[in-house]
Point group: D2
Chain length 485, copies 4
Amino acid sequence: MALVVEKTSTGREYKVKDMSQADFGRLEIELAEVEMPGLMSCRTEFGPSQPFKGAKITGSLHMTIQTAVLIETLTALGAEVRWCSCNIFSTQDHAAAAIARDSAAVFAWKGETLQEYWWCTERALDWGPGGGPDLIVDDGGDATLLIHEGVKAEEEYEKTGKLPDPKTTDNAEFQIVLTIIRDGLKTDPKRYHKMKERLVGVSEETTTGVKRLYQMQANGTLLFPAINVNDSVTKSKFDNLYGCRHSLPDGLMRATDVMIAGKVAVVCGYGDVGKGCAAALKQAGARVIVTEIDPICALQALMEGLQVLTLEDVVSEADIFVTTTGNKDIITVNHMRKMKNNAIVCNIGHFDNEIDMLGLETFPGVKRITIKPQTDRWVFPDTKSGIIVLAEGRLMNLGCATGHPSFVMSCSFTNQVIAQLELWKEKGSGKYEKKVYVLPKHLDEKVAQLHLGKLGAKLTKLTKAQADYISVPIEGPYKPAHYRY
Amino acid sequence: MALVVEKTSTGREYKVKDMSQADFGRLEIELAEVEMPGLMSCRTEFGPSQPFKGAKITGSLHMTIQTAVLIETLTALGAEVRWCSCNIFSTQDHAAAAIARDSAAVFAWKGETLQEYWWCTERALDWGPGGGPDLIVDDGGDATLLIHEGVKAEEEYEKTGKLPDPKTTDNAEFQIVLTIIRDGLKTDPKRYHKMKERLVGVSEETTTGVKRLYQMQANGTLLFPAINVNDSVTKSKFDNLYGCRHSLPDGLMRATDVMIAGKVAVVCGYGDVGKGCAAALKQAGARVIVTEIDPICALQALMEGLQVLTLEDVVSEADIFVTTTGNKDIITVNHMRKMKNNAIVCNIGHFDNEIDMLGLETFPGVKRITIKPQTDRWVFPDTKSGIIVLAEGRLMNLGCATGHPSFVMSCSFTNQVIAQLELWKEKGSGKYEKKVYVLPKHLDEKVAQLHLGKLGAKLTKLTKAQADYISVPIEGPYKPAHYRY
Amino acid sequence: MALVVEKTSTGREYKVKDMSQADFGRLEIELAEVEMPGLMSCRTEFGPSQPFKGAKITGSLHMTIQTAVLIETLTALGAEVRWCSCNIFSTQDHAAAAIARDSAAVFAWKGETLQEYWWCTERALDWGPGGGPDLIVDDGGDATLLIHEGVKAEEEYEKTGKLPDPKTTDNAEFQIVLTIIRDGLKTDPKRYHKMKERLVGVSEETTTGVKRLYQMQANGTLLFPAINVNDSVTKSKFDNLYGCRHSLPDGLMRATDVMIAGKVAVVCGYGDVGKGCAAALKQAGARVIVTEIDPICALQALMEGLQVLTLEDVVSEADIFVTTTGNKDIITVNHMRKMKNNAIVCNIGHFDNEIDMLGLETFPGVKRITIKPQTDRWVFPDTKSGIIVLAEGRLMNLGCATGHPSFVMSCSFTNQVIAQLELWKEKGSGKYEKKVYVLPKHLDEKVAQLHLGKLGAKLTKLTKAQADYISVPIEGPYKPAHYRY
Amino acid sequence: MALVVEKTSTGREYKVKDMSQADFGRLEIELAEVEMPGLMSCRTEFGPSQPFKGAKITGSLHMTIQTAVLIETLTALGAEVRWCSCNIFSTQDHAAAAIARDSAAVFAWKGETLQEYWWCTERALDWGPGGGPDLIVDDGGDATLLIHEGVKAEEEYEKTGKLPDPKTTDNAEFQIVLTIIRDGLKTDPKRYHKMKERLVGVSEETTTGVKRLYQMQANGTLLFPAINVNDSVTKSKFDNLYGCRHSLPDGLMRATDVMIAGKVAVVCGYGDVGKGCAAALKQAGARVIVTEIDPICALQALMEGLQVLTLEDVVSEADIFVTTTGNKDIITVNHMRKMKNNAIVCNIGHFDNEIDMLGLETFPGVKRITIKPQTDRWVFPDTKSGIIVLAEGRLMNLGCATGHPSFVMSCSFTNQVIAQLELWKEKGSGKYEKKVYVLPKHLDEKVAQLHLGKLGAKLTKLTKAQADYISVPIEGPYKPAHYRY
């Protein structure tokens, strides 16, 4: 795919796989709207006042049908939007086409190369001569990273005249990042500085991106305010948990059609994502074994009847392996060599380094047989035994299925809209410093509230006497900040 | 698709969608073999002695990857095979291509018209001048029905010279059957008689087909012996139950990506299929309501915490409707009109008359919007409210997903192989009359036994004293015939 | 406790623990009546016509609150009743007191010796000079066994003059049986013959008793007709399954207060009882391992995510062991010696020989520490490690808790009432030979029907067209005899 | 029971129900020790250094077997201990007897009057002329409250000479508190001041007590440092959740023997306690309906397939009602009047005002029938319909059963020991001000760690590279403070 930006008849830029899928995308977007009451009610509540009028928003977040409804909520509130995906496999091409045709500048397709991926990210950040976006919606932090690395390189260049050198890193992906920045520096040595100046803030979607933000905050290197959307209760305790409970089996089934009942499944990590995965596998009739480093999470697994062992203990008897840790090198090629024939290995964490794909790809004599896109059988030369790796070690629920379902994404994305509104509203007030913030409890409760009606729920209302007795306002918020749900 | 039979280079007939998918089909067949220990061990045990040498077997059963492994087990045991699917949407085209290229005469593709469907059935039964097949593997009983209707028409024709008249029935599908028979009669007025004469017997896969067989046995019209494979414990209590527990959510997810958690789901019927569906939906976080006619099954549902109501009680508040009854007119167009916008309506029973598709299609002013193949939104003119119907009311797990997974189908299909072996072995012995039989308990237990090793299970062995104490042989069978598991 | 029969003011015989508990028993009986709609509706339907007028019924069945409601249903229908328990630990003394005071002759208390147990059984069968009962309600078959052994001994005595010799058996309990018969023979050498002559039939409650009956039928030694109540669907698929799912954790908690979550539990046997036990333990958060001899049941366990291994594989790592097999010598003293300190060992099968209590009691140097009644810690001399045995190896749910709850027993006992009614109605008709019968399907469905209203369920009604389509009467029965539910 | 303090042969004070139960208590304590690895390992780790040497500890916490192991851990570490229960029904008399005989001064029995309850609390706080305790272990905050109210009254008295007047409050229980303080003031007008001066701090066990502490902190009235043990993850996410999941059905079964399967159960409140209760009821086969004020918790319930409605919506169709809110007036007498006959009403929250017992007791014409202790049927005069109230509206798991099992209490109580050690160690350091603190994350993780071995779990260990990648120490703590588990 040649990397040439295309334009719609109205002049909006895009680069997608197949514009003819736009109608199909539109139909699925319409279905999703019915399942996303939080976003639709944002349109109703805020649409008339056009709060995002004048705001330029860049998003780097899986370009799916659900994201399409998010994007069109942002535009319905007055924003201008440019978008890329935050994963090479996660784009749904019909969603990308519909948005590109109807609503925003999209640069995304399923099955990008890493080179293409970063090209798309750069395109999404490029708002022309006026600098970058006013706001960023980030997922995993790649858009944020590009700006931070860009600014760093520009400072170095200004000070020393030294261009970034891709050869200074072993990491293939980071080489691409440095190359892009280097090439940019040559044309405009203030490009990322201008972005940084303009930027009001970022709202970050996921655990991994949030971790990066807190590290930057700790180091004092964070360049603009950030809202941690991931740690809204209505995000991490819903999307991460119930989303994965839904999309893990979905990905397994679409990729392999394997019967889960009766199998031994290993879930590496028992955080919110791991809890969702383990619950799904157990309910489908698998015997689930958990690996954990944290004794508290381990004890939670035990209380649910799950066995807690190390990967070494079970590597040769399990049928399905899922990584959910947010850490690296969880399943190494040496583990993979010891697995049963046709053991399934997949990752549902944000980055693809939980499984040692490099070690696998470079294992002497290993043979890759692509069953179908995102489903590969890798055969080891000595044993002739093969393992099945999903989505090349990347997020299997987005690579092999369609990610989380609309309803739970509506919770997450309503937090995104609220976070973006908050940053934009306070852009001049100084309320937000170059730090990481979470949304206040009452907004978190509001997000939940917006999703109850669709499910037919009726809340109980406190009397004044009851509210006083437990020292909360009748209308909430109802819980202290440290409450764990 | 023009209905012209094609031939492989070796001269074997076929008609499939796309022969270029054969390699893909072969790769998935190889994966499935690892998951189908019962069938593979039949190949090991019986392959060398070629017990099916000389046997011509016709199959009318969903032409999927799993069925491909069944077919190649039959051919590995010496049989010659012709095959068609028993549902217009259930064929997996890559499976059909691989089998057509490598192993048997296949007439099947995903998305047949009814006309094409019966053409395929006829092709599968046509073994040339020597008459029909020796054995039939049937699912739902359509191959068996064609022969019985054919024989009936031929008798009538012989007696009265009257040809069957398609106009005598309202049923569109039965009109096609009569047309085929009528046209056949003109060329060969003894065609189905010859088939009947040659036929050693049929083994029937599913509840619906079995019901037809018992009715014919009761009427005295059954023309050849039949083995009821459905009621092997290792079939009905596994495939129907655990298979649907797997494939119902799979179909829902692939067709609609809808979040199941939080939804209200109605399961019509709480037999083995309904039990599997209800379990899957409950585990995924839906609130499940069951409709039942049978008080015993209803009480079972209640004991699992499910509500038991009538469809009328809940039609306007539920989000997902699944029919599993084996009966007709379960969800009528009047029900559908009262449903919530975008309620999902689907069927996982064998035939497509559980949902009143005719009533829906002919409802004045109704509008059909095809989201994607097998996923349609039907909008009623008065309310502008739409419902989503899967697979046009046919088996949604095969229409929208890939049916049951290999492991559980290995149980079912091992019963099929054993049944076919038994019929063929006893073809001259008179052991089987024109009646319906079930396999003996020890064979049922053997099928289970063949599937334990793959799941790492170890059985306990009775001592002589223990076996005597409970009056069973050490090696089984362990249970009386009436035992319900 | 001296074995002297007492009499109420109205002259009815009894022997119970403490008559002062009668009021408490009455209160709990009244609560149970609300939970037993099947029995209560029998009183409404049949009470007015007094169908049991003149019938003398002996029952040998756990003398609990639920049984009290059964007994008073029999008396409400006109019967005269004498009762004993079928287990030395299962009597609830307040229930026995209330019934003895108000309704029937009761001989039962919690904690009988075996000697006392058989004395009670004999008392319950003794209707004075007129011979034995007209009908027997049996559970486990001890009343039936006493008559059969009695008749056998009387025949031998008549032929050879030889009295039965208790020394001919090692089995301590059978020695007591022979002693009773021998002593009886001295006073009346035709006692059991007279019983046999009078007896119209027996209805048997449980798997174990039914197994005995089928063996006698096979041997041709069955002396009177028997109705197998256990294999009514509304008995074995409810009481055995859902009853144990309730009462197993109840017994564990009352006896040991042990936390089930996180523990490794071994369930020996995966029949209906084992399925209920395994489900309860899994749901409470234990990791459950099943032992099985039957590959079909083993495969069912695997499909539910349970591990299937042998007892030897897991004996030293599990925390809780439950036997449910109906077989003997399942857990031997050698197993027990290898268990972890304070492992819990219990049985929920009918007889106490599943656990080798004799081996344990006679193990050299073993020490028994009674924590409280029915909860003993047994310490092995070498390891100083102890195991906790519940209810001395007898039915732990009745020994350590109160057995199954009223609602599910209402299903079982409504079958009993219907069976007794049927036997009595047909007493002269010759309909029932000396064989074992099950109740017809429509009565089974009726039992279920009687329990739906209490749970707020509403059944769907077939239309005529639907009933015809599936070839069943509109009012049922709906399933063929072989249907497994 | 006359309120006279008794003394052991060694001169230690006590007041318990029946000293002869001490041996039985000791046996159960020994069983519990095996299930409480956290406490036992505190004895091993800290016992030799006797860190509590010289410390006088007063506890006001359910005097159960598990608490006995806590008390003996405190004494094993060198403390002198006086104890009372924090609930009139929660004492296990055999536990109280064993501790009174062997280890500490105990004032507690099952079934205290409120008068007796506060007498016991006062006794536990009375360490003689030297003032009160050094440390308090509190549950619900009654010991803390007595001191705070005492100090307040003494200040008022000092200023104005006014004694507290019980008539100033309607609350019967608070009248007793004021009476005690008033009577104390007459003998020693500085009694509670002396206590306050001496007190190093309190560690509080439960949500309710913690709420009180935060309110006092907010008001600036807190008189000494407090450690909030409840909000240790290893407390609130284990004891509250998994403890109640175990003990709610236990209480229901022991009190009523009711079959849970098939019933409609309403759980008021879906916090940790409500989540545990709802999970237990659902797993036992009930259909569970949740009432909530908090939209986030409500949405969690929905995701688990539970219906969320108001009590008014379901009051007349449910069978079982459980309050878990920590609020008051949840179930009023007007609700109770509308319930089905024999509906079960119970509370598992700390205080007894969730159910309007006063309204019920004073309802004109209502009749109370005590089935057995802690199980009462209340019959309304108009309908003759009754409801069953457990434990007089107090904590039903402690009133009707034996509370939470040992293993999960070991988690909670290990936090208590660690909190007490911390307070005592830092008594002179000024580290703790008059505020509420939670334990640091690494101690929370340590508590979990101590409980893994017993369940056979094995943790995974981070490599240095992995630890660096996620920026945590190899040995933990692994999570940020805001992590929700």
